[in-house]
Amino acid sequence: MAAVHDHDIAHAHDHHPTGLMRWLTSTNHKDIGTMYLWFSFIMFLTGGVMALTIRAELFQPGLQIVNPEFFNQLTTMHGLVMIFGAIMPAFVGFANWQVPMMIGAPDMAFARMNNWSFWLLPPAALLLLGSFFAPGGAPAGGWTIYPPLSVQMGMGMDMAIFAIHILGASSIMGSINIITTILNMRAPGMTLMKMPMFVWTWLITAYLLVLVMPVLAGAVTMLLTDRNFGTNFFNAAGGGDPVMFQHIFWFFGHPEVYIMILPAFGIVSEIIPTFSRKPLFGYSSMVYATASIAILSCIVWAHHMFTAGMPVTGQLFFMYATMLIAVPTGVKVFNWTATMWRGSMSFETPMLFAIGFIFLFTLGGFSGVVCAIVPIDIQVQDTYYVIAHFHYVLVSGALFAIFGGAYYWLPKWTGHMYDETLGKWHFWLSMFFFNLAFFVQHFLGLAGMPRRIPDYALQFADFNMISTIGAFGFGLSQLLFLYVVLKCIRGGAKSPAKSWEGATSLEWTLPSPPPYHSFETPPVIR
């Protein structure tokens, strides 16, 4: 994409508060993006410590480290923290940094609302993590907070419900901001079909968020009134229906899965063309496939509930609809592969993570199709097979794309190149230990090991030991990422405006690091 702009660096209006007030009162998309990314990394480490405690307990059969009540709190909070605290804010951080720069805008449309969207997160995180110290401890009924368990728990559950309300409000405001920015603030000549793929995926994700976050808010509000105000939405003894919660929850929960993967598709769709030195193959079909996945994601929710009891007609409907999602997802995988075909490829760290993403996300997608088949799902539901499936989609899918995107744009954000050798080490260690931790969980699940248990039968011992070693290796490898990022922020080789030879989108026309206000004069897209 060719662009011209006459940005004068010396003229950059960066009169803004310094020190703590810079961050507290910031209305700048880059500062807010940075805060989102650091927040999500802190939550990632927090959720990671919970995961390692879980894996340490499962290293051997028997109870060694934590008691079963605390184990249940850890599995629940690990899920909530990673989904709402780590993955989602990370992508919003990317959107804040990249969307204005990629469409040629000076900042986000609603700059003050942007500040509020971010600053709602720390109190929500404090509420969520503070529930560990409430009488009765943190929520312990699984991240899906199904009644009746969630109705019976102590006040930690109320704290988690309020945290989810606040996080939902933050997400909705962030989405409105992103939609408005994309639809109204594109540079002259930047038509919708000229937008970078990352911007497209975030536009569609933002619509999904606006659609489903209020549904989650409704579900948890009903839980709240069931718990505290004597209503009986989900209490069978009072005429309510616990299965109704599952339907409402998963009407949010399944699109949520795509909310966490569509921006990852967008990041990978930026990285692959850059390092293949070719334009993205089938750009328009990528846009259509993203829209198709978003629509289909809203009519498949009950595949999470095949064993909760439903007529065979319902089972077949949701099975067919779910399997059809493999079609547009397959379109995307083939397009990425075709982009690399006969490209002049090089394998810097972002590209390694992108290729790792395609390989392992496809594996996770396939095990998803396996789970979609009703008779098989009845066998594997609530086993480690499901754990393996969604960690392939969310860790080697969403998280690998986040790492890839971070390495890809770090030179732009900081003005310095990161340490390529250490970046490659980070990738290969993550790749090896991730598979060590999670591939064996497929075997555990097929052999019948249930999820969310602190103890297990002796025949599962060896694979659990391997999985725990992998998990600790993976967790420790992420400290290397922290080191690489800190080193890159502090210094290193200067990055040119265009950090990568094959990069084409608008942000690479700005100096590295970019000025405080991205495009004061809109660039003209030819």
Binding site: S284, S285, Y288, S292, I293, I295, V327
Partner: protein, 68 residues
């Protein structure tokens, strides 16, 4: 920036149906896409998409009814 095209909309029902069908499949030829972008309005695409989704759900239900 709202006006990507200055021409009045002239999309026919058949054009909308085609665009929605290919969107559901997830593939679209570049030349067809360009003609869609110049002749279809967002409202047409959204209404077409909703009708398409309803038809898709109904066809799935019919298939399920046939096999059960």
């Amino acid at each position: 920036m709202k006006d990507d095209n200055k021409q009045p909309p002239k999309g026919t029902w058949l054009q909308i149906a085609k665009a929605v069908f290919w969107a559901f499949f997830g593939v679209r030829k570049q030349s067809d896409l360009d003609s869609d972008a110049s002749s279809l309005t967002p409202a047409q695409v959204i209404i077409g998409g909703l009708i398409g989704a309803a038809l898709f759900v109904m066809s799935l239900i019919i298939v399920v009814k046939i096999v059960t």
